[in-house]
């Protein structure tokens, strides 16, 4: 298994084949830990020792893969050299994913990964057999990205289960999985997955390099490595896409992206990521392309709303009355008559209140969740309006903003609009539309300057790539797009050369006449 360069414990010394020495060394490393088992075994004529961590070992696997094969060995079996040991292992443990080890260090590493290690008297090698077990959650529907039509399975915390979900979806020999061990304290397994020959080799190489360069002590979630591998961390916009959905990851893989799976979390990140990825829900591809396109446009609109609506309202109501049609203006102004605050303060009050409500709603135990809606919706909203502190229009604006921010198919993405909204409200309150538009320009400039693994963040829009437009703002039918996203510079550009519209080809008059003659069945 790949590179474990950073995670190193135990001596560099080769295994000596002395059981007592080995036992001493292990006791020194692991101390008095209760779950390390060192059991003596008799393999044929030889004395041996079985090492495993009880807590992460599956007892049934251990019996099936280790103890039963050993029990079946003839009693007179004797092993003297490493070569013979390897032959014996191949015969005895064939088909159970065993690894021959030569150093103490590797042995320790394997034990920590849930392998059972057998050391034999007089043989300067050891064998590790995969027997990992321990607590696991079953595959369930993802909680963050729910879907109406489409596959319902989601990633779980177990690395191998997650990899199997991907393998089962992409039955292709080009799917490559590379393992890294990251975290000096946790030694977490992290997998880099990509499609060889589809994903751009340069991007994969860059991802590999960045993973190898991570110097951290602990990795519990993809978020931990996200900040190490992202091109720029000082940005409110996420530059990698993380999802719980295996179908989304598979789709990204075949379009030429790479994915990173971290042991211990159901979130998988894919890269490179562009702005538009966050506006695309997997479901877009599972339903009619017209509906998918419509929903996508709705999502762009809601992103705009979530970002700008309060600031536009504030600036128009404070500085640019003339932009509102007169009857509407009269009704809005009459509502604001009793309100003691300027529009900026009003907007700020309501937005902050909403953010507090939202955070409370996320962190609260489910059982008391209903209270939030009552307190938030009724008490604060209605009472504030009736007390004359807040105008009705402002409540509508804030509510629309709030709902719009939930539309994003990717929850984390709404962070950007949540944060930037406040800045824009201030700009709108101080400089009017001028401030808001300049703020937007700075934002777009910032977006244009972002890159994700060398791919410009606004990729198919700026720089404009015509070939990619079939699947950005609207989604054309699947047969219409024959190329993988060109912005990712995939190694193989074509995804489906011969795809054609299922409607029958046009029939020319001469042909039709011929057909009628031959078949004679047309009226």
């Amino acid at each position: 298994m790949g590179s474990g360069e950073r995670y190193r414990s135990g001596s560099e010394l080769p295994l000596t084949g002395n059981l007592d020495e080995c036992r001493e060394e292990m006791t020194e490393l692991f101390g008095e830990t209760k779950d390390l088992r060192m059991e003596d075994l008799q393999i044929g004529q030889k004395q041996a020792m079985l090492l495993y961590l009880l807590t992460i070992t599956d007892a049934q696997l251990l019996t099936e893969r280790v103890l039963q094969p050993i029990g079946r060995l003839p009693v007179e079996q004797s092993v003297a050299s490493v070569d013979e040991f390897e032959q014996l292992c191949a015969k005895m443990l064939g088909g159970s994913a065993h690894v021959i080890l030569h150093t103490n260090q590797d042995a320790v590493q394997k034990i920590l990964e849930g392998f059972s290690v057998i050391v034999m008297e007089g043989v300067s090698a050891a064998v590790a057999i995969f027997t990992e077990g321990g607590g696991k959650r079953g595959i369930q529907e993802p909680t963050t990205q729910t879907i109406v039509k489409g596959p319902k399975d989601g990633f779980v915390e177990d690395l191998r289960t997650n990899l199997s979900l991907l393998r089962k979806r992409i039955r292709n020999h080009k799917l490559r999985i590379e393992t890294f061990t990251i975290g000096t304290d946790t030694g977490t397994n992290v997998c880099l997955i990509y499609m060889k020959g589809i994903a751009n080799e340069g991007i994969v190489e860059e991802a590999r390099k960045r993973l190898q360069d991570i110097r951290t002590n602990a990795v519990f979630e993809t978020g931990n490595i996200e900040e190490f591998i992202a091109d720029k961390t000082i940005t409110p916009f996420p530059t990698v896409y993380s999802t719980e959905r295996p179908d989304a990851v598979s789709a990204h893989l075949v379009s030429g992206k790479a994915a990173i799976v971290v042991d211990g979390t159901p979130f998988v990140i894919t890269l490179p990521t562009v702005f538009n990825d966050f506006m695309i829900a997997p479901e877009d591809y599972y339903q009619s392309f017209m509906m998918g396109s419509f929903l996508r446009l709705i999502r762009y609109l809601s992103f705009m709303f979530a970002l700008m609506l309060p600031s536009l309202y504030v600036s128009v109501i404070t500085y640019h009355h003339e932009l509102i049609p007169t009857p509407l203006l009269i009704s809005v102004i009459s509502q604001r008559e009793g309100v003691p605050f300027p529009a900026v303060v009003e907007a700020f009050l309501m937005e902050v209140t909403f953010e507090i409500l939202r955070e409370a709603g996320v962190r609260m135990p489910r059982a008391v969740g209903g209270t939030i809606s009552i307190v938030g919706g009724l008490v604060i909203g209605q009472a504030a309006v009736e007390a004359g502190i807040i105008s009705n229009t402002m409540v509508i604006v804030v509510a629309l903003t709030a709902i719009s921010s939930f539309v994003a198919p990717y929850y984390i993405f709404s962070i950007s609009s949540r944060l930037l909204r406040f800045g824009l409200i201030v700009l709108g309150g101080v400089f009017g539309l001028y401030g808001v538009f300049l703020g937007l320009m700075v934002m777009v400039g910032h977006l244009c300057g972002l890159r994700s693994f060398g791919v410009p963040y606004l990729a198919p829009i700026a720089p404009f790539i015509m070939k990619d437009q079939k699947d950005i703002f609207i989604r054309l039918p699947v047969w219409a797009s024959k190329l993988r996203p060109q912005m990712l510079k995939p190694d193989s550009a074509v995804k489906q050369q011969e795809s054609e519209s299922p409607s029958p080809p046009p029939v020319y008059p001469s042909e039709r006449r011929g057909k009628r003659k031959s078949k004679g069945d047309q009226p």
Binding site: H320, F431, L438, P463
Partner: protein, 382 residues
């Protein structure tokens, strides 16, 4: 001579930048209306035709020395120190025009949209945004223009649509065509209309030298110029058809006066404040490009990356745009009477034409050397 991290813009970005640059402030200010009146649209067409010649000159110079920008060519052609002197003049010119364009827009803002806000604040905010964007580099500016240009074009089209639906357009306003003959038209065309958007393209010689497909660079530049010429002319046509020649001549910002006429179902009306911000994109590109041109000149002179100069020079440009004129009338008067003749003509026409002439003579000589062979003399020197 070139840094390894040379920024290159794509052909489409070049197209969009040139288009926004040329339309940018020309569409707002409405230059030349005072004399040409109802024939302004004809003047714009003629100006575009002459402007094309200028753009051809700039592009031809760049093609003769591929990979070199304006400053490099200046010192290649005129020698090290005269080239540097000219570069200094160009830098001052670019910064000055950058400040002028900025002032055009800030005046528009405080007259039309934010009457109570001081000029200084408006300027500071704008120039800070420009500083940020230029600091990010020309690639980012190119991508930003790509993002905004659809909005720009949509609004230009929407305004037409609204005006047609609102029945504000009366083509009779264009009559009589050339009522006073060609004389007032040509008077406006040169130097004012030729130099104002088209001649200013000289600053783009700095970015057009580094595009991803140098082969298509000349064609792109010409197409963009034709497009902006037609947009400007169409726009002049629209203004006259809606307001009439005399109104256009008297109005400070004819575009806004036109948009103010829009009224659809008593719901979509008084769009001028909105239009200001759409037009802001063009102004923004123009200020940034002039500013960038000056900064690149400083980089050329000092061999220090231009990003070190962005903040101080940016604030300087902002300050300059405030002190440049005491009020808007003075600003416009300078713009009409002094700038075209004393700044635009030498920097946009005389120097580039000289450059081209020298380059052509050089090439002619080289070809002659090739044809007749100077091998004997060369060997003697060795």
């Amino acid at each position: 001579m070139h840094s390894p991290l040379l920024e290159r813009i794509s052909i489409l970005q070049q197209f969009v930048l040139i288009f926004l640059f040329q339309v940018g402030s020309a569409i707002v200010v409405g230059a030349g209306a005072a004399d040409a009146k109802q024939d302004l649209w004809i003047a714009e067409i003629v100006a575009c035709a002459i402007g094309l010649i200028l753009v051809v000159i700039y592009v031809y110079i760049l093609r003769l020395k591929p990979g070199y920008d304006l400053y490099d060519i200046l010192s290649l052609v005129f020698g090290r120190w005269p080239g540097r002197l000219l570069a200094v003049l160009y830098i001052l010119y670019f910064f000055y025009i950058s400040a002028r364009v900025l002032r055009d827009f800030t005046e528009l803002l405080i007259i039309d949209v934010l009457p109570e806000t001081p000029l200084e604040i408006v300027t500071l905010l704008f120039i800070l945004t420009v500083i940020y964007m230029v600091y990010m580099g020309i690639e980012v500016l190119g991508r930003m223009s790509e993002t905004f240009v659809p909005y720009f074009i949509t609004f230009v089209l929407l305004i037409t649509l609204f005006l047609i639906f609102g029945q504000d357009i009366s083509v009779e306003n264009l009559l009589p065509v050339l009522g006073d003959g060609w004389e007032p038209v040509l008077k406006v065309v040169f130097p004012e209309l030729v130099t104002f958007p088209y001649g200013e393209t000289v600053v783009l010689m700095i970015i057009m030298a580094h595009t991803t497909h140098p082969r298509y660079m000349p064609l792109t530049a010409l197409l963009a110029t034709v497009l902006s010429g037609s947009v400007l002319s169409y726009h002049a046509f629209l203004m006259i058809a809606v307001l009439g020649g005399d109104m256009v001549a008297r109005s400070t910002f004819p575009l806004l006066s036109v948009v103010r006429e829009v009224s659809i179902a008593n719901f979509i009306e008084r769009l001028d404040a909105l239009v200001v911000f759409i037009m802001m994109v063009g102004i923004f590109v123009k200020v940034s490009l002039f500013f960038y041109g000056g900064l690149k000149g400083l980089e050329f002179l000092t061999r220090i990356p231009f990003r070190h100069f962005v903040l101080p020079c940016g604030l300087m440009v902002g300050f300059l745009s405030i002190i440049i004129a005491a009020n808007f009338a003075e600003h416009i008067e300078e713009g009409v009477q002094i700038v075209p003749l004393f700044f635009h003509v030498p920097f946009q026409i005389i120097i580039p034409v000289l450059l081209l002439a020298v380059l052509l003579i050089q090439r002619w000589r080289q070809r002659r050397v090739k044809r007749h062979g100077f091998r004997g003399t060369l060997q003697k020197w060795k």
